[in-house]
Assembly symmetry: C2
């Protein structure tokens, strides 16, 4: 039985600002402290839930300086935030970013498992290895781990968390009030994991949720990042410049998943992060975009954030009109290296000045998905039908704009049969069409039973 393919939608609340947008908080509809205001997040999550979105997606960072852009300066820890949202929403998936570089597997598996239970099976984990190298200083290290260690830890960490989530088989708790039996002790399993990076005894003191395990999201775009996504990722957050780039990425990732890891392509839900601007007409939408870009995505803002992939290297020290200083790539080695390398290569190939290179990063904000509700919906469907993606993570920048996405674009997607008219599942796995993973111990037992 194959069910009809459905588009998947995530909402990414920016709070006081987002990528390249340092002045979002000037919008009078956005509280100046939105990034720590739970009422604001509740409002945005409920709005996305009204639009039948699959999930809200909370990004993160943990390294700041006095020069950091506004939205980095002050933000709630993602899983703590999502737990508060869990009791204020009913259906929408709750995906939070947490790093495998500066957490312990037992702690994090426990927190994610708790969120999954509290939300009735709606938790997702956006696995990152931390690109901001300076974060290491907040965790007692002089330098961030090298790439190999970062990805080695990530992959061992995820598998370890999944094993911990299987500590109890689903029928382990008998709770028979007549006999007084509480636990079937044979269905509690310790782990005794002793790996390259981690050693964990277990068991985890938590049952599984309605969806079995939290959904694993992943975003890395390096070779190691893509392999991690293809092997263990279930949701993929990515960026795609155009429909062709989206198709190439999807094809690469799903081919890797199948060829290298023996997975089914539909076990990977690929959702690029996009920016949407809705107007009454295409012309009006372009005008709104231009106005917002002038205000939110200034050259100064772009320059202020430009250093992030290069370990927050300060580019204000260079002559803007001299050739791009290509040796800065060294600063990116333990940061967002893939991105730093791509920027550097492009600058060198095109013989750009620093100014031209910074300008080129602003192009991200000149969008595909800008127009009337009809135009935007058609574009979303075009990408999705062309298999440039399985859905989209839509940034919530200006609330008035996101309200138009929910109230005007989503109904068209629904009308065209591309998107659910109502939730037909209670879990995030259900929304995304992902299977509930079998408990490894039950599976093993059943395999033995069959063999007998």
């Amino acid at each position: 039985m194959t069910s009809k393919r459905q588009m998947h939608l995530g909402a990414v609340p920016y709070g006081t600002g987002g990528p390249g947008s340092h002045t979002l908080w000037l919008d009078p509809e956005i509280p100046g402290d939105a990034s720590v205001d739970i009422a604001w997040y509740v409002e945005m999550a409920r709005l996305a839930e009204r639009g039948r979105f699959d999930l809200v997606f909370i990004v993160d960072s943990q390294f700041i300086t006095p020069n950091s852009p506004p939205h980095y300066l002050n933000r709630l820890e993602p899983l703590t935030l999502l737990s508060a949202l869990a009791t204020q929403t009913e259906h929408i998936g709750l995906v939070g970013t947490a790093t495998t570089s500066f957490n312990s597997p037992f702690n994090l598996a426990r927190r994610l498992g708790s969120l999954d239970l509290i939300s009735g099976g709606r938790a997702g984990w956006n696995v990152v290895t931390t690109g901001d190298a300076g974060t290491a200083g907040n965790y007692g290290l002089d330098d961030h781990y090298d790439y190999e260690t970062r990805y080695g830890r990530a992959s061992e960490f995820i598998e370890l968390a999944q094993a911990l989530w299987d500590s109890y088989e689903d029928d382990a708790f008998v709770r028979d009030r007549t006999s007084g039996a509480f636990l079937d002790r044979g269905k509690q399993h310790r782990l005794d994991h002793d790996g390259k990076y981690f050693k964990v005894r277990g068991p985890l003191n938590l049952v599984r949720s309605a969806q079995g395990h939290p959904v694993i999201f992943q975003a890395g775009d390096s070779e190691q990042g893509r392999d991690l996504g293809a092997s263990l990722g279930e949701g993929i957050f990515t960026h795609a410049a155009d429909i062709g780039a989206g198709q190439a990425f999807c094809d690469d990732l799903k081919t890797r998943a199948r060829a290298k890891f023996g997975r089914r392509p539909d076990q990977l839900v690929i959702m690029p992060g996009i920016k949407v601007v809705v107007g009454d007409t295409d012309q009006e939408a372009r005008e709104i975009e231009a106005y917002n870009n002038d205000r939110d995505h200034t050259f100064d803002a772009a320059l202020g954030e430009f250093g992030r992939p290069f370990g927050w290297h300060d580019f204000r020290q260079y002559d803007l009109d001299a050739p791009f200083p290509a040796d800065v790539l060294a600063y990116g080695e333990r940061s967002f290296y893939t991105r730093a390398r791509a920027i550097t290569q492009q600058a060198v190939e095109n013989r750009w000045t620093l100014r031209e290179t910074v300008e080129s990063t602003r192009q991200f904000h000149r969008g595909e998905f800008v127009g009337s509700a009809q135009t935007v919906a058609a574009k979303l469907i075009e990408w999705w039908e062309a298999r440039a993606c399985d859905g989209f993570n839509i940034g919530i920048d200006h609330p008035s704009n996101f309200r138009r996405v929910v109230d005007e674009v989503v109904p068209i997607l629904q009308e065209r049969g591309a998107f659910r008219a109502d939730y037909d599942s209670t879990t995030l796995r259900g929304h995304l069409g992902l299977p509930i993973p079998a408990n490894r111990h039950t599976e093993r037992r059943e395999a033995v039973d069959e063999a007998v």
Copy 2:
């Protein structure tokens, strides 16, 4: 100005079971999976809030075996749980247990700071060093830290967290929509802590909440534990066998606080954990207590939990009627050693058998606070007036009983002027009469200004 002394009340939801009570889940009013059921916790927290309690208090443990008593087997991570409660309650303080032995200061300060912001300044942190030695195995260690390391880490960890919470002065965020100024950069402070156990750069990417810092709770009863409480604790969770023991403990702790650490005695709020049973008459309450003790606090349950202070040593292997095997104390060295030593000493002094020793631990459940609502209220006031405590942490065992505490005992306390008739504060510090700590950087600046 001195405000009238007020009694403080905390509620400790047991879920499926509590100390020495392994069969609480047999109560049909308690869901069999209460310890992972958010609706259950919301109901209990709201009940306590209806009673104008200062706080709910969430205990914790992270080490289990198939033989662990029911309430250890399966429980939500405390801070994740409390964040979900934060948006379901309005006034009540939210105190969660987290260990300094198996967490990173930056992560935990961030999570507690986030909970404090989400709850509008209602967060408290019950600092533990982890008594269950086996927990170490879940964090890559073969053995738990020794006492000196445990308490050295705890004290450095708390001061580090408090310093991180001061990363921003209260007026650091300008957010001037006219000028576009967002942050007063001189009011963001990094830490560059390089201590015996931890190295943390900072700053923390979070503003302070309405109460400045989460309230520090502490419960250790060893010499080191008492010193930690006297130096850094603001709320103290303890146990007192009788009014005299309570007075001696309060006197000791408040004297230490003043003499050794120069603190004011009212900056320490001491709240022993107690068990309350309310009946229509004293006689009926005694009958309920006896019935519950027979059912909940059986000898088998006591024997099953008896090993906890001794590193969950299994006492079922010994002859119950032989003398207490005093050399088991060695198993307690990296666990709840103070408790293990007290039990062992008492057994040796009284020449008890193992059976008699286990029996003696059941006496905890034969309570002082058992009787009609009038009797219980009078007893609470007697302890509080005698300064055997500043308030009580009342266990929520049977909900029907806790409802009588809220609906029958609390009104008498209110009538007698011992307990608030309504909340007159929005923060946990406000409820407890604790001052908002000044931001160390602002204080320093003001001191300099005054000196000029």
